[in-house]
Symmetry: C2
Subunit: 183 residues, 2 copies
Amino acid sequence: MVRPGGRSARVQAAVHTAVRELASEVGRDALTVPLIAQRAGVTPSTVYRRWGDLQELLSDVAVERLRPETAPKDHGDLSSDLTAWAEQFLDEMSSPSGRAYIRDALLGDPDGSNAGQCSAYAAEQIDTILTRAAARGEGTPDVETVLDHVVAPMMYRILFRPDGLAPAYARRLATEVLGPDGR
Amino acid sequence: MVRPGGRSARVQAAVHTAVRELASEVGRDALTVPLIAQRAGVTPSTVYRRWGDLQELLSDVAVERLRPETAPKDHGDLSSDLTAWAEQFLDEMSSPSGRAYIRDALLGDPDGSNAGQCSAYAAEQIDTILTRAAARGEGTPDVETVLDHVVAPMMYRILFRPDGLAPAYARRLATEVLGPDGR
């Protein structure tokens, strides 16, 4: 656990910032632990002790970048909310930076916790949309069903079958999971 | 292109074999290019020239290991064929070695061709099952639909949400994609 405001939290913030700054300055492939440590004002051994290696550090930074910054927008009905969210998710995740973050999150993740966090972020956003719809009296699929039939196809194609991913694909998946009767 | 029987093909076979043997002898994390080259009877520079680095070599070997060895078994009807295939796919891909191969295939794959090959293998197997069903006069979904709603959810959960993956999950996905009327 990282105590907010504690030294541990300050080190993490400084190192994450250093990675993001250096990645945009020298490019991701030129990053090294000594370079990052110098920019963050810590010793390389601090980085190795805390993150193990560069790959694990990049994975942690990637998960931070993949954290949604806001709740899904409320368009007034489930179909509009889910369709808009799916389009935005595909747009962000299939962008060059999105693909790089997904890749980094998966690669330096020996115990799978970072990959699990990425999926938890998507599940939280979907849960917000479905809970809002239920409050309106709309029938809804459950979160796992939306993960299986909207999020999973998009993530699978981004990783394994990236050709021709378009907003219409995200819209179709969202519409189909709601069924002909909008549920 | 690798000419079958040519030196290039012999080098590839020897290096792939060396990787598989050494991985089982010393463990995947202890593999190095010099160690692999020595076992394969080639120089390390031959390996670097051909594969770039260890990660790319491991990715190529992983894709080879993920290549289906046989056509899907014919059980006489689409529902039985697709259900049995999905169960076997989940069992193989979610095994420790399956997960390691998927990971390797994705990681050392700068241009995405190895990940694409993994998806192409699944698409070919599904196409065999659907073509067989159509020849029996059965109605079938198309290959992309089965990839989206059977393969993608299994691969997404293996990578991002691995808890509680059971054969019943694969069966349910296969049954649902065929619809209530078995199509």
